[in-house]
C-alpha cells in the first residue's frame, strides 16, 4: 500500500470550525436551559470583525524590522534546533531555520515545503524527497541535503547530547536502529537511509501511524558540514549553537547581545526568494512595557500579551491589531487516583468523592467562564465546548455546547436528583452517601489572573451548594503544583485542578489523556481506551473514519467528564502600520504566523510610526 499522501479533503478548515452553533444540541450537547450561553461562533465572529487577519498587501521599501519578544526575562539564546526548548528561542530559530516539510490544512505535513513525502504503511516507512526545483542552501552557501536531516536526528539521538527532543513525540526514539546507535554498536542509525544524491531520505519504523504525519517526525536539518569532527558532547556549548549560527531560513544570523537581542540579515538565497526586508532585529522587552514601546514605534511587530490589550486597544493608533487562533486549551481536571510510574499504570482511588459523575457535571455547569472571558481577558478567551479546539480544525466537533454554558439551575437540579441534600439554612450540601458536609479541594497555581478567578468560581460553586476550598489554603506555586500532581504528592487530597495545555499539531490525545504521567486525572475507561486504540489503528488511515473517532472522543469526554474543557482563545499581534504583507493567513487556510510568508514582509517607511 504505497501511496502518496493526499491532503485531507476538508478545505474549509478554519472557517468551518468557527461557524459553531451557539446553542446547538448535538450528540453531546445540552440544552442551555434558559442560561446565557455564549457560543464559540458568536465570539469568534466578533473577533473576526474586531481584528483583521493581515496587514495590507503592497510593495515596500525594505529596511530592518524591529521584532519584540515580550517576555519577563532574557531569552536563553540556544540557536541549535536540536537543543532549543524555550518558545522564545524557538521564535528566533524559526527565522533562521527552515523545516523541510511544511504543515498543511489540518496541521498535517503537506507537500508545499522544500520537500514532499510519501509513506508505506506495510513497510513502515516515511520518505522525504526534495522537490526537483528546490534549491536550498545553508547560509554559508553549501547546499542543504538530506544528510543534514539525518545528522540532525543523530544529534538528537546521541546519548552525549541529552537532547529532550529524543523521544516518541517526534518519533526520534522509534526509528529502527536508534538503540544500536545510542549504545555505540553502530555510528549511524540504520533506520535512516539517504539516497538519490542526498535529495531523498527514508525513515523506517516498526510501524507507522497517521499521527506521525501531524508533526510527528523530525524535519528540521542541521548543517552537517560544520559539525563534522566536533564531538557530540561539545555541541550544546559550542559557538555554532550560540553565537556563530548557520541556518537555511529566510534570515541569516548576524550577531547577538546575549539574552537581550539578535540581529538577522536577509538571506538572498532563501529557497522561496530573497526576503523583501534587509533584516530583522529581535529584542526582548518586559511584558509590562511592550504597550508603551509600541506607541513610540520602538517595535514593529510583537505577539502581544492579551492581559493588557484593553489598556492599549484604542491608543495604538500607529498600528494594527492582527489576530490568530491560539493553541491554548484550559481545562478543569478531576483527580481519580494515582499513577504507578514503574508499571505505567493508573491506580484508581475508590474513595474519592470525585468518582461521582453527577458531582463532576454539576461542577462543570456551575462554573462560569463566560464572565471572566470578558471582564478579565477582554474577550480574547472563549468558553470551550469540547475537548478539542478550533485550531485543530475539522477534528473539533461543531455541534456541542458541552459545559461551556453556565447554568446554576441545571447544576442544582443534577445535585438534587443525585441525592446531595441541601437543607434549609445550611451553607452547603451534604454528601449523598455519608450525609455529612464535604469539601472539594482545588489545586490552582499563582499567576496574574487566578487570584481574580478563584473567588468568582468558588462563589458560583457555593451557589450550587458546593464547598470548594483551595489546596493547602491558597494558590500554589507553579512548580509545586506540577510536582504535586505529577508525583501524586497530595496523596488523594486534591479533587479538582485547573490546568492548561498548548496543543501541538498532532491531534492524537493519547500523550495527554492516555495512561501517561501527563494525564494528571489518572482516569482510564474502556470507552476512552477503545477510542484511543482506534485512533492509533491502521483503520485511521481512512480520513473520514478518523474524523469520526475524534468526534466520538469528544462526545465520550463530555459524557464521562473526567475533565471539563474551560476556555480557548486567540493570540493578538500588534503590528506597526509601516509593515505590509504581514499575514496570519496562509494560502492553505491556517491562521498562524507563517514561515512560508515572512520573506514577503516589508516596510513602507524607514522609520516606524508613532501614536497620536
Amino acid at each position: 500500500m504505497r501511496k502518496r499522501f493526499l491532503t485531507l479533503g476538508v478545505t474549509t478548515l478554519l472557517l468551518a470550525s468557527l461557524v459553531l452553533s451557539a446553542c446547538g444540541i448535538g450528540g453531546g450537547g445540552q440544552a442551555a436551559a434558559g442560561t446565557e450561553a455564549v457560543g464559540m461562533a458568536a465570539a469568534m465572529a466578533a473577533l473576526q470583525e474586531r481584528f483583521p487577519v493581515e496587514m495590507p498587501r503592497q510593495e515596500g521599501v525594505g529596511g530592518t524590522l524591529n521584532f519584540a519578544l515580550a517576555i519577563t526575562s532574557p531569552f536563553a539564546g540556544m540557536f541549535n534546533p536540536a537543543f532549543s526548548i524555550t518558545a522564545d528561542d524557538g521564535t528566533i530559530n524559526d527565522f533562521m531555520f527552515e523545516n523541510l516539510l511544511h504543515v498543511n490544512a489540518g496541521n498535517m505535513y503537506g507537500h508545499n515545503g522544500p520537500a514532499w513525502y510519501e509513506f508505506d504503511v506495510e513497510a513502515g516507512t516515511i520518505t522525504l524527497h526534495f522537490h526537483e526545483d528546490t534549491a536550498m542552501y545553508w547560509h554559508d552557501g553549501v547546499p542543504v541535503t538530506m544528510y543534514d536531516l539525518e545528522f540532525a536526528v543523530m544529534t538528537i539521538a546521541h546519548p552525549d547530547t541529552f537532547s529532550d527532543r529524543f523521544g516518541p513525540a517526534m518519533n526520534t526514539s522509534t526509528i529502527l536502529g536508534v538503540d544500536e546507535f545510542r549504545d555505540g554498536t553502530r555510528d549511524y542509525i540504520s533506520g535512516i537511509r539517504v539516497f538519490n544524491d542526498g535529495r531523498s531520505l527514508e525513515y523506517s519504523f516498526e510501524s507507522i501511524a497517521p499521527s506521525m504525519l501531524f508533526g510527528g517526525i523530525w524535519v528540521r536539518p542541521i548543517p552537517r558540514h560544520r559539525w563534522e569532527g566536533i564531538p557530540f558532547v561539545e555541541h550544546r556549548d559550542h559557538p555554532y549553537s550560540r553565537s556563530d549560527i548557520v541556518g537555511n531560513g529566510a534570515f541569516m544570523f548576524s550577531h547577538t547581545i546575549p539574552g537581550e537581542a539578535v540581529s538577522l540579515v536577509a538571506n538572498p538565497n532563501f529557497w522561496l526568494g530573497a526576503p523583501a526586508l534587509d533584516g530583522i532585529n529581535i529584542a526582548q522587552i518586559h511584558t509590562d512595557l511592550i504597550g508603551e514601546a509600541l506607541l513610540i514605534g520602538e517595535f514593529d511587530a510583537v505577539n502581544f500579551p492579551t492581559g493588557i490589550l484593553s489598556d492599549y486597544e484604542e491608543r495604538f493608533t500607529n498600528g494594527t491589531w492582527v489576530s490568530t487562533l491560539d493553541r491554548r486549551f484550559d481545562f478543569l481536571g478531576f483527580r481519580f487516583g494515582f499513577m504507578d510510574h514503574d508499571t505505567q499504570t493508573f491506580i484508581p482511588n475508590p474513595d474519592t468523592i470525585i468518582n461521582c459523575i453527577y458531582l463532576r457535571r454539576a461542577l462543570g455547569y456551575a462554573r462560569d467562564d463566560i464572565t471572566p472571558s470578558t471582564t478579565i481577558f477582554g474577550d480574547t478567551r472563549f468558553p470551550l465546548a469540547t475537548t478539542m479546539i478550533p485550531w485543530q480544525g475539522h477534528f473539533m466537533r461543531e455541534d456541542m455546547t458541552g459545559f461551556s454554558i453556565f447554568d446554576l439551575d441545571l447544576a442544582n437540579q443534577i445535585l438534587d436528583d443525585a441525592g446531595y441534600e441541601w437543607r434549609e439554612g445550611e451553607p452547603f450540601r451534604r454528601h449523598k452517601d455519608t450525609g455529612e458536609f464535604f469539601e472539594i479541594v482545588w489545586a490552582i497555581h499563582e499567576n496574574a489572573t487566578n487570584p481574580l478567578l478563584v473567588p468568582h468560581h468558588t462563589q458560583n460553586w457555593a451557589a450550587a451548594g458546593l464547598n470548594v476550598v483551595l489546596y493547602q489554603g491558597g494558590l500554589m506555586e507553579f512548580n509545586d503544583r506540577l510536582e504535586t500532581l505529577t508525583h501524586d504528592l497530595d496523596e488523594g487530597v486534591i479533587h479538582i485542578y485547573d490546568s492548561a495545555w498548548l496543543k501541538g499539531t498532532n491531534p492524537n490525545p493519547r500523550a495527554l489523556w492516555g495512561v501517561s504521567a501527563h494525564n494528571d486525572t489518572r482516569y482510564q475507561s474502556p470507552r476512552l481506551d477503545a477510542i484511543l486504540d482506534a485512533i492509533d489503528s491502521e483503520l485511521a488511515w481512512d480520513e473520514e473514519w478518523l474524523i469520526q473517532q475524534y468526534h466520538e472522543w469528544q462526545l465520550a469526554v463530555y459524557e464521562e467528564a473526567p475533565w471539563i474543557p474551560v476556555t480557548t482563545g486567540v493570540m493578538i499581534w500588534a503590528v506597526n502600520n509601516r509593515v505590509v504583507n504581514f499575514s496570519l493567513e496562509r494560502q492553505d487556510g491556517i491562521r498562524e504566523i507563517s514561515r512560508d510568508a515572512w520573506h514577503l514582509w516589508d516596510l513602507t517607511s524607514p522609520t516606524a510610526y508613532t501614536a497620536n
Binding site: 519577563t72 526575562s73 532574557p74 536563553a76 539564546g77 540556544m78 537543543f83 526548548i85 546519548p159 541529552f162 529532550d164 529524543f166 523521544g167 516518541p168 513525540a169 517526534m170 526514539s173 550544546r236 556549548d237 549553537s241 550560540r242 550577531h255 547581545i257 546575549p258 539574552g259 537581550e260 537581542a261 539578535v262 540581529s263 532585529n281 529584542a283 526582548q284 522587552i285 518586559h286 509590562d288 512595557l289 508603551e292 514601546a293 506607541l295 513610540i296 520602538e298 510510574h341 506555586e477 512548580n479 509545586d480 506540577l482 510536582e483 504535586t484 505529577t486 504528592l489 495545555w501 501541538g504 500523550a511 495527554l512 501517561s516 504521567a517 501527563h518
Partner: protein
C-alpha cells in the same frame, strides 16, 4: 595587616563551606527541578524526563549530588552545568556579571556624587531652607518604592521625552570594542543607574548630615573655632574628614550590594544582570546557577566586609584591623 587579610580570607573557607551545605540542602527540598517545567510539554514524555534526570544525576540523594558539585568547584573550578541555559553556570553568570559590574560601578559613582554634596550641604546648613529642600527629597525617596520610581523615570525620560533607551544594555548594532559601543552602553546605563543612585543616596545623606551636625558642636571643633580657625578650614579639615570616615567604610558593602544585582531595576529596564538571573534561576528551578550565584554573593559579602575594613584603615590611620 597582610597577615590579618590572609587570616580573614582563610576564615572564609569554612564559612562558605557551611553556606554551601545549607544552601544545597534547602534547594534540594524545594519542589521541582530544572526539568519540572518540561512536564508541561506533551512533546516530551515523562519517561524521557526521568531518563534525563537519571542521566544528569538529579535522582541521586542530595549528599551525593552535593559531593559531585563541591568537588567540581574545588578540583576543577566547575560550578556545574545549567540545564535551563544549556551551558556551564559560570559562563551564564560571567555574561551577566559584566553588565551588572558596569551598572554597579556607575551607580556607585553617581550615588556618592549626589549624596556627598547633598549630605554635606544639609549638615552644614542644617535647619536652613536648603536643608529642608534636601530633607523633602530624602523623605520622598525613602517613601518611593523602587519599582514605582523606576517606572516613572522610564515613562518620563524613556517613553515621553525619549532621552534614553527604554530597554537593554547596548544598541544591537554597536560594535564591541569601539567608542560608539562605549557611548551606547553608557547611554543605556545612565537612566537605570541614576534611578538606583537617587534611591541609594538617602542613607548616606541622612547619616552624613547627622555626623556633620554632631561634629559641628563637638569639643574639638569648638576649640578650633575659638582659636580662630577659619570656618571653611574648620569644615574641610575637621568636620568633613571625621564625618566621612563611616561613609568610606560602607563602600565595600555598597559595591557588594550592587553587584548582587538590583532585581527591580534590571527587570524594568530589561537589563540582563545578575539580580534578575538569580530570581529567574529560583523560579525556573535552575539550582546549578542559583547555587553558584549564592556562593558568589556569599564570597562577595565576606570580601566586602574585608574591603570596608581596609578602606577604613586607609582613610583613618588611627584604625588598624586586627
Amino acid at each position: 595587616m597582610h597577615k590579618t587579610i590572609i587570616r580573614r580570607l582563610l576564615i572564609m573557607i569554612p564559612q562558605l563551606f557551611a553556606i554551601s551545605v545549607l544552601m544545597f540542602a534547602i534547594a534540594y527540598n524545594i519542589p521541582g527541578d530544572a526539568l519540572t517545567g518540561l512536564t508541561e510539554n506533551p512533546a516530551i514524555t515523562y519517561e524521557r524526563i526521568q531518563e534525563m534526570r537519571y542521566e544528569l544525576g538529579l535522582l541521586d540523594p542530595w549528599p551525593m549530588q552535593y559531593g559531585r558539585w563541591i568537588s567540581g568547584i574545588v578540583l576543577r573550578g566547575d560550578f556545574g552545568f545549567s540545564i535551563t541555559h544549556s551551558r556551564p553556570a559560570i559562563e551564564v553568570i560571567g555574561e551577566r556579571a559584566s553588565n551588572t559590574f558596569q551598572l554597579a560601578l556607575l551607580t556607585t559613582v553617581l550615588t556618592y556624587a549626589i549624596a556627598l554634596p547633598l549630605g554635606i550641604i544639609a549638615g552644614r546648613y542644617n535647619d536652613k531652607f536648603i536643608d529642608r529642600v534636601i530633607g523633602v527629597y530624602t523623605y520622598l525617596a525613602m517613601a518611593m518604592p523602587t519599582i514605582v520610581f523606576a517606572l516613572i523615570n522610564l515613562l518620563i525620560f524613556g517613553f515621553r521625552l525619549q532621552w534614553f533607551p527604554i530597554r537593554g544594555s547596548v544598541y544591537i548594532n554597536a560594535v564591541p570594542g569601539t567608542f560608539d559601543f562605549f557611548l551606547s552602553r553608557m547611554h543605556h546605563m545612565i537612566l537605570p543607574a541614576i534611578t538606583a543612585a537617587l534611591l541609594a543616596t538617602i542613607g548616606i545623606i541622612q547619616y552624613l548630615r547627622g555626623e556633620i551636625i554632631r561634629y559641628k558642636s563637638s569639643d574639638f571643633v569648638t576649640t578650633a573655632r575659638s582659636k580662630g580657625v577659619p570656618e571653611r578650614k574648620l569644615y574641610t579639615r575637621h568636620i568633613f574628614r571625621n564625618a566621612l570616615i563611616p561613609m568610606a567604610s560602607n563602600i565595600g558593602f555598597i559595591i557588594v550590594g550592587l553587584l548582587a544585582g538590583a532585581i527591580f531595576i534590571e527587570t524594568i529596564f530589561s537589563f540582563p544582570g545578575m539580580g534578575r538571573l538569580f530570581l529567574d534561576s529560583i523560579t525556573l528551578r535552575d539550582f546549578t546557577t542559583a547555587n553558584a550565584l549564592i556562593m558568589l554573593f556569599a564570597a562577595l559579602t565576606a570580601i566586602g566586609a574585608l574591603l570596608s575594613d581596609i578602606i577604613l584603615t586607609i582613610v583613618d590611620p588611627r584604625i588598624r584591623i586586627k
